[in-house]
Amino acid sequence: MAASLALPRIDADLLDALTVPARQGDYPRDSRAFVRIDTSLRIYWHTLFDICPGLLDLSGPDGLAIFRPFMAWAAAEKLSLNWTYYLWVDVWLAQSAFRDRVTPELRLSLMGASAARWATGDRSEAGGIALGCAGLPDLVCGWKTRSILSGRRIEQFTLEEPLPPPDGPFGFFTIAGDDLPDGFPGWTPIPR
């Protein structure tokens, strides 16, 4: 299938391929376009497996048994790959051949990774985020940095009275300050 497309001239010609491993094969292996797409995909790979290395216990050391089918599914589902990236990996794992090997610890690490990604990348006025999951009672919270000398914080809370589970696989609410609120504002479904 290589070289089936005209060789791209500008970066924007490659936009549709930058998140889709299968599209890399549309371009000759010795082309800048092929390496450009590879460079893009490697960052998604590292963003996933460097942060949640427990996934490699399922997939094998190259991660590709998870990475390639997940990215194909994410493209088909038009997922944004924003801060929810890791949460949708969890959703995909639950319907994959790996579903019986996914531990609560791995799921919590994926939730923590998403909370951290929100805390470093969100530019709204919210100070924190709480994530809940249908199958786990604990809350995972991410807090933006409150001092130039520190970084974002991730915390796991076990509540005396667990909150009602979200309707979907995950739910979230944002927090104005840097403490859990007294009341429960309800779950917002995670964005796609």
Binding site: I10, L14, T47, L79, Y85, R123, K144, T145, S147, I148
Partner: protein, 283 residues
Amino acid sequence: MRIGFNFTLGDTAPLVRRLLAAGRIDYVELLIDNFLAVPPDDLADELAGHFTVPVGFHIMFSKFIETDEAALDSLARRLRGLIDRLKPLYVSDHVARFTHDGRQLYHLAEIDYASDYDRVRRRVDGWQDRLGQRLFLENYPSIMDGGHDAPAFYERLVRDTGCGVLFDASNAVCAHLNCGVPLEAWEGVIAATPHFHTAGYNLSILQPHLVLDTHDRALSEATMAFLERCRDRFDKPGATMTYERDDNFDEDDIVADLDRLRAVFAPRIQDRDHGRIACLAQN
């Protein structure tokens, strides 16, 4: 030329303080949107306590070309408060694609300089209005041949919007090595701006190698040669050169690079004489 260092996260504060104490840097460039949740009073106090030098503001994730207006209003309100309070040497941002079809791009993409021009111009106008501030916009480390259109794009954007360019010298070297954009094509841009970046880059894993703006190693000889060759075009009153490092914080390596930059931009005898004459004239 003032030499600065980028500060993106708290982990590197001790390093930055040592560079300041040794006189190796003259200012600190804050990746300001990483610190927007720090209460403004605390931010000002912490900066005064730890970095007793001027600051520059580098905005990374405004995504001002793509973000909806309400989110930009909110972001601008908070940034303006900090701009008014901390009076940065400059405020800079990025011209790039952060998303495509609603999907987040983790390796930012280069815009189409021809077809995107009108939208970018409108967005730059709007973002400068919101911030009440002239913006300096950073050039992209081009990989594909569209990079050839970048120098003329920025010259036109500066003319039409009054913005400036945060000219990243090593990004221009990346574009030169990847797609052959002549470094000379940037001469007009360099002459027109006082604010600069530079950093190390690395090669892609696969071949044909791409040169990637990784900020994780020493400045290349090609970058140093470019700076030395065009030294007089870069240096001007009020000029700043920020050395960026975001990974592999090898202090000896960083110090060596800062010393090399300092040597390139050391005042020359005629500059010193000119300065002395100017001082005498004032007296």
